[in-house]
Symmetry: none
Subunit: 403 residues, 2 copies
């Protein structure tokens, strides 16, 4: 195989953590870190390792992305920028003949008349529409390979392969007990993305009904997370797993619930009520600006909060059905990162580190040939065992609790 | 007495409503409506009555205000612009030998080190510092003569004169059940100003302690408003009555609580928590913009909402102590305006109409000689009876409920 040369787009929290993680591995020849802000790219690439270089790049057009791929002889594009830029990067990688990985899929658009009942354009629909082209070109677009989507999908496939004979429901459940010292309110993940996913109509899959939507924050439940995190209120949120898992794993129902907690839900509801979640520019103080950009600008950059953050974050997949022996079974496959550990070991906070480790593992599996494929594929399209083995090898174990 | 000639500064909601109210009275010779925007002044003055004229005027310097007073032989200046301009208008009127009335007093500045415990510069301090000059010139500055401050102070004096032998507490309480059709959230007054007054440290007076401050939104209580408005959650807010009433009325304690309601309080708290109340520009989406301006831009302009507004607004003064007979007594003196009535009768929404009627009545009492005085005086320095009689005569009765 030709040596792997990666164009890593986005030197934010996740991109920077991916550099720190990849720097300890030897499966690649070059990682070019690209960001709209060249200084930010340079800071992320400055890990004292000549295999990392930095460029400034505006990822909003396929042409610019393709040109960067050609200039740096890129074999794999890893997209770690916000999901508005999925399509130009996805198309730019394709145009340049590179393989492609992302952590979030092309955006949804609500149903025009029944947004809280029916799906409109679903997450990833634009990408899946191009699947035949990618197969034809013998190129792989591995979509949704962060932690959620990503590791959560790997867990779903593992459960189907190894643990269950019949699956009635798969529910991805994400919760944390992280707190940030010195701030009244400091989300540990991009508020722009959080607003996007939490205020869109949540999507649910049912075998007999297909995909449908509900009101935001629907079906609240208190989920008990392992490793001392404990009980957290979770609500339905639009997420890629719900559109990915049913394509490769047979399940009666698939949901995603996010452990936002009461305070965060209230903040999101208020932003929505005042129109401050909007992405269409408004005229204010003599300039045109999108309200959501102003909300993001007022909050601290989550990537800078690691030193003031305490606690653990948990991602995982809860599965209910019958085991291989036919007996009723309920299991939660999970991965926990303690912020104190990720800060000490990598200098990156738990949430971004947990997201970043997965695409690095995937790249390593692709470099080694353990994972291979073409077309537009989710993580559950691949054998989960080598992925989970790598996770342990990277020093960050996963677990199962049976209920 | 010489004929009354008024310079009305500010042709916004309150100034325009004051014109509509004064046009039905005959106590004055001339009202010159002045605004920074000459077109807005002309629109407000266009009531088909030759006693009203319009001029453009920048009220930010005393010299410009004094020149306009001299040019139009003004006897009384009525200041209905935003409180940032109180001092130049107050000084300009004095320089021209005119009497002066306003609806809000000179601004406060928080205590530099203990903003939520001690007062710094209080509302009106700059004006009261000039009181001796006004007495010496035999001119009157009647400060805070809108509805709150204004009518609320008249109620306090009435309670002391007629109803109570001993007053333990005077609490101005403002609440409404106004709703605006077609919006999830549409404040009926400027959100910019509401944020300003609600996030300043609220001031409280106690006989044994003097004036002191608390945290914003302190001492929440549910107050029962009359006339079908019902129970509304009220919190402490910085307001002029707390600095005016104790100067002329003996009370153990004076507070002002605003019936913002739970939803509005939550919105303001959330804006503050996220830094979206800030007036210092932040960099967002490639431009510099003050977050508070973006919040205001996302909401509808309250001046345009009168036709879509329903409900009533109530201003009043709650008094607790002992009656003239020595028995425990608790009374709420109040004034309610139904938006349907003020729109039908005057074409102005309830909140601005209720503010505007009071300075017109005060001018009429001054013209008739029923109220007279010199120096810097609050509404509670005068006999309340003729004022309350005029309120009834103007077709907008007041009431008392005993509890």
């Amino acid at each position: 195989m030709e040596p792997m040369r990666v164009l890593l787009l986005g030197a934010g929290g996740v991109g920077s953590a991916a550099v720190a993680i990849a720097a300890r591995r030897d499966f690649f020849e070059q990682v070019v870190v690209a960001d709209y802000d060249p200084g930010r790219a340079a800071r992320a690439a400055a890990v004292g390792d000549a295999r990392f270089s930095a460029v400034g790049l505006d990822a909003s057009t396929p042409g610019a992305v393709a040109a960067a791929c050609r200039e740096h002889r890129v074999t794999h594009v890893l997209n770690a920028v916000d999901p508005r830029f999925v399509m130009p990067i996805f198309e730019g990688a394709f145009a340049a003949g590179a393989h492609y990985l992302d952590l979030a899929m092309s955006l949804s658009r609500p149903h025009p008349t029944e947004p809280y009942r029916r799906v409109g354009v679903k997450l990833g629909d634009e990408q899946f529409a191009a699947a035949d082209r990618w197969v034809g070109a013998n190129r792989l677009a591995l979509v949704g390979i962060g932690v959620e989507p990503g590791l959560s999908d790997v867990f779903a496939r593992y459960a189907a392969d190894r643990l269950f004979g019949r699956i009635d429901e798969i529910g991805v459940r994400d919760g944390a007990n992280l707190v940030v010292d010195g701030y009244d309110f400091a989300p540990s993940f991009s508020i722009w993305t959080t607003i996007e996913e939490c205020l869109n109509p949540p999507v649910i899959y049912e075998h007999d009904r297909g995909w449908y939507t509900t009101e935001p924050f629907s079906e609240p439940e208190v989920f008990e997370f392992p490793d001392g995190i404990g009980r957290v209120e979770c609500v339905n949120v639009e997420h890629e797993e719900v559109v990915l898992i049913p394509r490769w794993v047979n399940s009666g129902r698939v949901t995603f619930k996010y452990g936002l907690g009461r305070e965060f839900i209230d903040v999101l509801r208020t932003l929505h009520k005042l129109g401050l979640d909007g992405t269409r520019p408004v005229r204010a103080g003599g300039v045109e600006v999108a309200p959501r950009d102003v909300v993001a600008a007022c909050l601290p950059d989550p990537a800078t909060l690691g030193d003031r953050m305490y606690g653990k974050t948990c991602a995982g997949t809860w599965v209910r059905g019958a085991g291989k022996d036919g007996a009723a079974r309920e299991s939660y496959l999970y991965h926990v990162v303690d912020n104190a550990w990720s800060m000490r070991e990598y200098g990156h906070q738990a949430v971004v580190w947990q997201t970043a480790v997965n695409p690095v593992i995937a790249l390593e599996l692709l470099a080694e040939g353990a994972w291979r494929g073409s077309g537009v594929l989710g993580p559950e399209a691949f054998d989960p065992q080598p992925f989970l083995d790598k996770l342990v090898e990277y020093g960050t174990p996963w677990g199962i609790t049976n209920r």
